[in-house]
């Protein structure tokens, strides 16, 4: 059970008190923290550094393991399996339920977070862009949108690039609501879905529901539905508070009460705007310098100064002699 030194998990930074904003990263973090694996977590990561170009990825020495499945395999091998305390029947049930939750919530998650254009442009893109280093933050979040296009086409049968009235989101919402109802029923009053011990199923449910519940999207029908299931809300808050006490991040200070539009401008966003202001100043100066250099090259300064010396009547004389002189 030796964890090699220097093992580090790279994920996206969190928001709204959650340890990460991304479903796959959150899943991987759950694997780590549920089993109390002593690994460090790095939140300011470059997704293109991982082998596959996506977060999360795990770095041990020189080896990189990208993606949830590989990370899980590494953890199982190193002695931190997430299903260690489950009986055989529970292990089977965990896989079965996890697959079923995937069938119902995956499409909803991808459509409402990345596929729906309004949601993506106002909220999700900026969330991901802030957590991706320059210059990738301009184009990298769109890769999530492309992926969502495939998911929605296969699982819901419509194309995200079509007009809004062709989007058949009701089907996804209805399925997702049924799924949440059943999850609430399954959980009942228990601490974990399988009684006293955590399982991979808890990780998956937490990862989907926590993000859908906490994210501030303009169009998110499931959010209120989850609010109506008190036991699921307690489940999410308990795990966020107890297990992710150190990793939870929220850019809004909790003491400040949100007041209209000011709440939208969190301290980190203000800092971002200011840094952009510096960039704007630099860009403006650069543009003026470029224009001045071009003008100088074309000789406009010489023309201006010579003109003012010959132009004493306000009448433009033919500058034949001057031109011969210049040539």
């Amino acid at each position: 059970m030796e964890m090699q030194l220097g093992a580090m998990l790279h994920v996206y930074k969190g928001e709204w008190g959650l340890p990460s904003i991304d479903f796959e990263c959150l899943r991987a973090l759950c694997l780590l923290r549920f089993t109390r694996c002593p690994m460090e977590v790095q939140t300011s990561s470059n997704p293109l550094r991982s082998g596959t170009g996506k977060l999360p990825y795990l770095q041990i020495g020189n080896d990189k393991f990208a993606g949830y499945r590989q990370i899980k395999r590494v953890l199982d091998r190193e002695g931190y399996p997430i299903d260690a305390h489950l009986s055989t029947k529970q292990k089977h049930l965990s896989t079965t339920y996890a697959n079923w939750v995937f069938t119902n919530l995956h499409a909803y998650y991808h459509y409402f977070l990345y596929g729906e254009p309004h949601n993506f442009d106002t909220t999700t893109r900026s969330l991901y862009a802030k957590r991706t280093p320059f210059p990738f933050n301009f184009y990298y979040p769109s890769s999530y949108q492309k992926e969502a296009c495939d998911v929605v086409q296969v699982m819901a049968g419509f194309d995200v690039n079509d007009k809004m009235d062709k989007h058949e989101g009701d089907y996804l919402v209805a399925n997702a609501k049924k799924c949440v109802n059943l999850l609430s029923r399954k959980l009942g009053r228990k601490v974990w879905f399988f009684g006293d011990t955590y399982s991979e199923f808890d990780a998956i449910v937490y990862s989907y529901l926590a993000i859908i519940f906490k994210i501030t999207l303009p169009n998110n029908p499931l959010q209120n539905h989850i609010k109506g299931c008190q036991n699921l809300v307690n489940f999410i808050n308990r795990i966020t508070r107890d297990i992710f006490r150190d990793e939870g991040y929220s850019s809004v200070k909790l003491t400040k009460t949100p007041s209209g539009t000011e709440a939208n401008l969190t301290p980190s966003e203000r800092k971002f705007l200011e840094s952009e202001f510096n960039t704007k100043v630099v860009a403006g100066v650069g543009a003026i310098a470029a224009m001045a250099a071009f003008a100088a090259w074309r000789g406009i300064y010489n023309q201006l100064t010579t003109r003012s010396s010959t132009d004493y009547d306000g009448i433009d004389y033919e500058d034949d002699e001057l031109e011969e002189g210049l040539d």
């Binding site: 089977h92 079923w100 296969v154 049968g157 029923r185």
Partner: protein, 269 residues
Amino acid sequence: MTSQYLNQLHTADKLAAEPWPEDATLYQPYEAEQILLPENASCLAVKAYLKMCNLPFGIRSCANAEHMSPGGRMTKLPFIRAGAFIFAEFEPIVNFVEQKDLAIGSWQDEDEKADMRTYVSLVENIFTMAELYISFRNERVYKEVTAPRNGIVFPWPLSVMQNYSKRRNALRLLKVYQWDDLDIDAVIDKVAKCCETLEYKLKESPDTPYFYGDQPCELDAIAFGHLFSILTTTLPNMALAQTVKKFKHLVEFCRFVDEKYFQTRCLHD
């Protein structure tokens, strides 16, 4: 392509009064020359389900069944036309039959039914993905079996284009369900785990041949459809069949359902 959800919404109101039509027809590709492994499994599952419900239906084989289908999450086949309604794939057809109160499994309570649905979803996902993987991702199987079978109903240049587009669709399906970066051993592992889950479930009720109680239910139908297809289809790569054969209870289960509902077909070992 109409939305499955809207379809179901509309039918829920109109359905309860209408009886099952006499001329309900199931459309599928040609069985001997054209149909592929995942489609065969899906069709067999639906047929088993309808037989278990004792509902009469006719079978119509057409070359363009896939293109006539209203659409679905995986293979889009088979699709059934019952009166004015058309539904494709196992789950929507089952929902349709249940709305008419004609379905088996009405003796189950809510929790058991919900559990059974999750098992059905697991079986459908894992086996369909494994069948798609072996049919389209495995080069040998694709060249020797899938491509000729799929293209046989089209003249030459069109068959190449259809094959290309079908393969691209299948690979996209595998990518969305996160199966595209697996190697064959991981696929076999997943199938084995699923079979283990099924066998465990079967053993839970040792006195009865079915998964739940002494009456058949949806899980029996879909498990039979996929397992039987895998066992009886010969491909250049028999990895799936060998994996399933290791689970004796499941093979026994397939033989039992086959004898009971499909007396004319037989299971070769």
